[in-house]
């Protein structure tokens, strides 16, 4: 675990607040006015939590000072000391920030996006400010499913920062306004941002809940907006944009020790991203889940003082790709709910249905499926099977986009969490006999697909005979 230093600007903090600070906190007089002193104060810490009264500092300059001290500035947690006016909130806020800083795994040059705090006029061109750096996502190419056709990041990104190019994804960091939506949309978890890692978010929530020693509410807020004052028992967890939260993110804090959870839309924080609609959809499904499992009061519209104790904590791998089914199943167990199916448009879990009459078993759907929820396989007796596991489905809908028989309803996806299906695991959705090459014996194509082609070709039996007797290789050599 990384060693975290806590550096607090001492000015104006009363004795009650000081008593709440961890023993290894470094208190510095006038720190806000002499941030360059950070280098001398961090005492070899690898990560840093900084508590300042005046947050109108130069980001570029602060980052340079932090970097010179050997600390990655993208992992520094900066807190506004005004949040420390209530002594009982000090320990949970600091514990959360320290845990998140400790979980920071570092960033590389691929994650650092230079930004300028202001646009210039041509007249002031020669006084361009120093750039500061914000955390941008990066693609782990070994986990990316673009080669199979996946383009979730391309369709999700509101800034068109991703382009799909011949089986790979090109990412334009310059166009990216890091909002994190690609991070949660990526079905394989190939897109990572150091600003919002599953471990970091989990650690922060757990630390807040533990340090508070009383029921806490967790409110997700975005890093660009202004968070208004909140009740004493609610604590903010910052994400790049609340539009990135799917329903499982909105539920997971309840499994990590929080008694209630909320998320602030852009309109509530003055952020200009305008992602309210996306959050509404996720929240709507989370509320359906809450209603079905009987914990609606834990997802209040307004941040009101808490009345319920937390649920029993469940160690879930929340906030990572494909974690939603586990989160929902754990929530059902924690609330002893007996509901079997919860459906709605914001569900991050999907259920596929195949119409055996119209599906030709072309396997386009299983070939593009980035998580392997849909799979095809040949059995020993040359039967082609199409199987599905809802526990792996992220409802990305890419199977629908490629299905050539979609107009005949060969495949359908319902956004729903089906607990029985989750327990059941992988099931066979369809199967078809295959034609085999009369010369070499390898499978050519499913019979259903050839029947469909025959239907489209009409009476051209000669062509059909040619297609169905030999495989491509043998046709080429005949």
């Amino acid at each position: 675990m990384n060693r975290v230093g806590t550096l607090v600007c001492r000015d104006g903090l009363d004795a009650a607040v000081l008593a709440e600070l961890p023993v290894d906190t470094v208190l510095a007089e006038d720190l806000c006015d002499r941030l360059g002193a950070i280098q001398d104060l961090v005492n070899g810490a690898e990560r840093l939590v900084l508590v300042l009264h005046d947050t109108r500092f130069s980001r570029a300059s602060l980052q340079a000072d932090v970097r010179a001290a050997g600390i990655d500035p993208l992992g520094v947690q900066i807190l506004d000391a005004s949040a420390f006016m209530i002594p009982s909130r000090v320990a949970p806020i600091l514990a959360g920030a320290r845990a998140r800083a400790a979980a920071f795994t570092g960033s590389g040059p691929e994650h650092a996006k230079p930004v300028f705090d202001s646009l210039l006029s041509r007249r002031s061109l020669f006084a361009i400010p120093a750039p500061a750096y914000v955390a941008a996502p990066a693609i782990a190419t070994e986990a990316c499913a673009a080669a199979d056709g996946c383009r979730m990041c391309v369709t999700t990104c509101p800034q068109d920062a991703y382009r799909w190019l011949e089986g790979r994804v090109a990412y334009d960091k310059d166009a990216c306004e890091p909002c994190g939506r690609c991070v949660t949309a990526c079905p394989t978890g190939a897109i990572e941002s150091p600003a919002v890692t599953p471990d970091g978010i989990r650690a922060q929530i757990e630390a807040i809940a533990t340090a508070a020693g009383a029921p806490v509410g967790i409110v997700f807020s975005c890093s660009r907006g202004q968070v208004a004052a909140m009740p004493d028992d609610w604590y903010s967890v910052t994400v790049p944009c609340t539009g990135m939260l799917d329903a499982s993110w909105l539920c997971a804090p309840l499994l990590l020790g929080a008694a209630a959870v909320a998320a602030l839309p852009c309109s509530a924080t003055g952020c200009d991203r305008g992602n309210d609609d996306i959050l509404v959809s996720s929240r709507s499904f989370a509320l359906r889940m809450a209603a079905a499992l009987g914990f609606t009061a834990r997802m209040p519209e307004e941040l009101t003082p808490l009345t319920s104790p937390p649920l029993a904590a469940f160690p879930v791998a929340a906030f990572s790709a494909g974690a939603a089914p586990e989160v929902f199943a754990a929530l059902r167990a924690a609330t002893a709910g007996d509901v079997a199916v919860i459906a709605g448009p914001g569900s991050p879990v999907g259920m596929i249905a195949i119409d055996a009459e119209t599906c030709t078993m072309c396997t386009m759907c299983s070939s593009i499926c980035p998580t392997g929820a849909l799979r095809h396989a040949y059995t020993d007796d040359e039967l082609l099977t199409l199987s599905f596991d809802t526990g792996d489905c992220t409802a990305c809908e890419q199977c629908l986009a490629v299905c050539p028989e979609i107009e005949r309803d060969a495949i359908a996806l319902e956004h729903r969490v089906d607990f029985n299906a989750l327990a059941e695991g992988r099931v066979i959705l369809n199967e078809a006999a295959t034609l085999t090459c009369q010369r070499c014996g390898i499978p050519i194509a499913p019979v259903a697909m050839m029947d469909r082609i025959a239907g489209l070709l009409g009476d051209d039996q000669a062509v059909m005979a040619h297609l169905t007797s030999l495989c491509l290789n043998c046709r080429g050599s005949s």
Binding site: P109, A112, P114, L119, R122, L125, I128, P129, P131
Partner: protein
């Protein structure tokens, strides 16, 4: 509070860094390590803490200062030149991109030379081909020198012109293949002097792509 920066000074720093890495990737001569140590000391005083590749730079400094290591010549030949089974990681653009770009090695090298000619440069008649890492880095160094001059003279279109040229060369050539080269060096040899040089150079080049593009945006967007 907004801190302004002497961008001419930044260009000079970048010019120095390009030259440093270009020189480090030339075939080694006696005293190279000492010369690089001296350059590191000089560049350290130019405000590198403002850039996110500082961590890699510090690692490189440690490698330079602490490890005597094997003979640089042997290491260079093994990795970048002939070696026993041919070069393990050729430091030339064409080796990585000729096939992908189509047209073969000659076409690609010709493209690179064309980029040099646009700015009145030509690759010196040396052992290194025009698409060698050291030559491409040297071109970027020269472009940064012109950019610094433009900042100092206060001619906005000239600054924009230089930045566009850097952006184009990075995005068309250097920054396209250098990460592949760095990956290959890291895979072949995780702990050599040249691994540290290439890793740091790669971090610098990646940052250059972002910095130059954002500066271009600033210049273009200025009302």
């Amino acid at each position: 509070m907004v801190e302004t920066v002497d961008w001419a000074g930044v260009s000079v720093t970048r010019q120095g860094l390009y030259r440093f890495f270009g020189g480090a990737l030339l075939s080694p001569v006696p005293g190279l390590r000492e010369a690089l140590c001296g350059a590191v000391e000089y560049l350290d005083g130019l405000g590198l803490e403002h850039f996110p590749f500082l961590a890699e730079w510090r690692d490189l400094r440690t490698v330079l200062e602490t490890a005597a290591g094997p003979d640089l010549n042997t290491e260079y030949v093994r990795l970048f030149a002939s070696g026993v089974d041919g070069a393990l990681c050729p430091p030339t653009e064409s080796w990585y991109l000729a096939e992908a770009k189509g047209g073969g090695i000659a076409t690609l090298v010709s493209d690179v030379e064309q980029a040099y000619r646009e700015w009145g440069f030509s690759a010196a008649n040396s052992a290194e081909p025009p698409d060698h890492a050291s030559t491409e880095l040297e071109l970027m160094s020269a472009l940064c020198a012109r950019e610094a001059e433009a900042w100092r003279s206060g001619v906005t279109p000239e600054v924009a012109h230089c930045l566009h040229a850097e952006d184009r060369f990075l995005r068309t050539h250097l920054a396209v293949w250098f990460p592949h080269f760095a990956d290959r060096v890291a895979a072949v040899d995780a702990a050599s002097f040249y691994t540290a040089v290439v890793r740091t150079a790669n971090a610098f080049v990646l940052h250059e792509v972002d910095l130059v593009r954002s500066l271009v945006r600033q210049v273009e967007a200025s009302p």
